[in-house]
């Protein structure tokens, strides 16, 4: 087991910079999720830790050793790829044994390790099958098994669930969480799905354009996003933003035009009394069973979403008003997008 230290890590392909100076400390045994939109550099960052991409500048330290010039197999890391990347011409057993065989591990030791890992992942019955005769979920487990047998100090996951269907994704997500519980190994997990990030991570690293936007425990990112990007990226459906002019005339919330107000859809509630915080015309309702999403538009043309327990079908096309408590309001500098302290709002 090992910690990972990243110092001013940079990567450019030719003249195009992809990662622009990332600093990060990952504790021993921690589950860290890199999340961000596609092209944000999260996979490149992971590949630099793995040793699959060269480091342009900066250092990666695993367990106290700088590994910039250490071969991938000697960094004590194992990786699970998005496409599983199983060896199609080998059986499941051979797939899992391959790395050990390369390391010249004795045969009976290989057998013991492979069977132990297969037991953990419940793939013992498939050991003699070839990957093409397995389902997506089974293949994913073999890929994880191949990583486990090498007893790495750090596990790297590159969007491991994105090729699975929705139901299997949830199931495998839980299995990965259990695996972390059981092994206690440091894990670094890349995803573009904020739900995976929220549910799996000890800490989330939000990346954009090759830079870290915010690092924190999931609830800290949800409750106190550092900027508008993180505010919209974490949480589903994404946070609503209102300008000063969107706010109802009589509202108690007052802020100047240089400030943007953010309220999560689940924190707005229907308000019958005047003045409310914000009003809009109800355009569309999406019914999810246990809740419904209402899509509205303010007089100023700002779209916003509200999460409600009961779908207000009677109100489609009509005006509705909403309010929230001051603790659930977020304020951001409109120009820079950075969070500003809530003193920006005055209650009248």
């Amino acid at each position: 087991m090992a910690n990972v230290k990243i110092r001013d890590l940079r990567k450019s392909f030719g003249s195009v910079g992809v990662v622009h100076g990332v600093d990060l400390d990952i504790e021993d045994g921690e589950f860290v999720v890199f999340v961000g939109p596609s092209g944000c550099g999260k996979t490149t960052l992971l590949r630099m830790i793995a040793g699959l991409d060269d480091i342009t500048d900066g250092t990666v330290e695993i367990g106290g050793t700088v590994v910039n010039d250490v071969a991938p197999s000697r960094r004590g890391v194992a990786m699970v790829f998005q496409t599983y990347a199983l060896y199609p011409h080998m059986t499941v057993y051979k797939n899992m044994a391959f790395g050990l065989k390369q390391a010249k591990t004795p045969k009976d030791e290989i057998d013991r390790l492979v069977r132990a890992a297969a037991e953990v992942l419940q793939i013992t019955d498939y050991l003699d099958r070839s990957p093409k005769n397995l389902s997506g979920g089974q293949r994913q487990r073999v890929a994880i098994g191949r990583a486990i047998v090498r007893a790495p100090e750090v596990f790297l996951f590159d969007e491991p669930l994105s090729n699975l269907d929705a139901a299997l994704r949830v199931q495998t997500r839980i299995e990965i969480a259990r695996l972390h519980e059981r092994l206690g190994t440091t894990m670094i997990y890349v995803t573009h799905d904020q739900v995976e990030a929220m549910t799996l991570a000890d800490r989330i690293v939000v990346l954009r354009d090759g830079q870290i936007e915010q690092v924190g425990v999931p609830m800290a990112l949800y409750e106190r996003p550092q900027n508008m990007f993180v505010a919209q990226f974490i949480g589903s459906p994404k946070m609503n933003f209102f300008r000063n002019s969107d706010i109802d005339a009589g509202s108690r919330a007052r802020f100047n035009h240089e400030t943007t107000l953010g309220v999560r859809p689940e924190h707005l509630r229907i308000c019958d009394q005047e003045p409310a915080l914000v009003s809009g015309r109800l355009e569309l309702i999406e019914q999810f069973g246990e809740y419904a999403l209402a899509y509205l538009i303010t007089d100023e043309g700002t779209e916003f979403t509200v999460k409600l327990d009961l779908p207000p079908f009677d109100y489609v096309g009509k005006r509705m008003s909403f309010d929230t408590s001051i603790q659930l309001m977020h304020t951001f500098d409109t120009k820079t997008g950075e969070r500003i302290r809530q003193q920006g709002i005055q209650r009248g």
Binding site: M79, A85, L86
Partner: protein
């Protein structure tokens, strides 16, 4: 005519065209094989005789007058040896270009192929003289080396296209597993593109088996291949059609049989990736 009928007719037309092309290509071989069982008189008869008493006389004559097995053995050694040498050089070359391409990789590939545009006779003199100086004239070694060189561009090119089909992640996974470059090629790359590698080797053997220019010019009795044997039948003794046909049939029979057995591999390899 409705759409279904039109589709049916165009299908029939395509099938007919394929048969015509196939027969046109096969006919000379068929005629050669047929002539080899005729007497010399029947062979030059006009109009040609289709029904005749087949004789094996020509074949026994070849075996008596010449050392057919010796030439055949030379053909096997030079074509297989040349292919093996070419593969030994081409596999690492294609691996490097497919998985670690540089900015000029495409140019290098094109340049390699462009060497095939050079007429062989253009370099006959220097190669002949070098072989002579090295004492390699009429040896199998010189043919193996030359054969490997002349097939190298096409072998590299084919292997490159097959290797490129291998998903990069699989090689990265093997690198994470700690394979050496050699093991990566032997245990991952070659097994994964086995169809392509095998068909490339087969194609190379076929091309070298039929190669005549270099074997006629650089060898005679000791290292002569079957193509040199066929050539020797055509010129000095005048044209004896049935004997020439017999020696040609005997020369191409082994490779036809090999091709027949490897048909599935060949077709699979040459259309590899085309339907994915």
């Amino acid at each position: 005519m409705n759409d279904t009928q039109r589709a049916l007719w165009s299908e029939r037309a395509a099938i007919t065209a394929a048969w015509v092309a196939g027969i046109l290509m096969f006919f000379p071989i068929f005629w050669m094989a047929l002539t080899s069982f005729k007497t010399e008189l029947e062979a030059i008869a006009v109009p040609p005789t289709i029904i005749f008493d087949p004789t094996l006389e020509n074949f026994s004559l070849i075996q008596e007058r010449t050392d057919y097995t010796g030439f055949a053995w030379n053909s096997i050694i030079t074509s297989v040896g040349g292919t093996a040498l070419a593969m030994a050089i081409a596999v690492p070359a294609a691996y490097a270009m497919a998985f670690f391409p540089g900015r000029r990789t495409k140019d290098v590939l094109l340049w390699m192929l462009s060497t095939k545009m050079l007429p062989a006779v253009g370099v006959l003199m220097p190669i002949y003289l070098i072989s002579q100086k090295l004492g390699l004239l009429d040896t199998r070694i010189v043919l193996v080396v030359i054969y490997a060189m002349i097939n190298l561009p096409i072998v590299i090119w084919l292997l490159f296209t097959y290797f490129r089909e291998i998903p990069k992640e699989i090689l990265e996974a093997s690198r994470m597993d700690g394979t050496s470059t050699f093991n990566e090629i032997v245990e991952i790359v070659i097994p994964l593109s086995w169809g392509g590698v095998a068909s490339t080797a087969l194609l190379s053997i076929v091309l070298l088996w039929n190669e005549a220019f270099w074997s006629i010019n650089l060898t005679s009795s000791d290292a002569g291949t079957l193509t040199a044997l066929v050539a020797s039948f055509s010129s000095p003794e005048g044209l004896f059609w049935s004997k020439l046909s017999a020696v040609s049939t005997a020369a191409c029979a082994p490779i036809v049989v090999l091709g027949w057995f490897c048909q599935k591999q060949l077709v699979q390899g040459l259309t590899f990736g085309a339907v994915k």
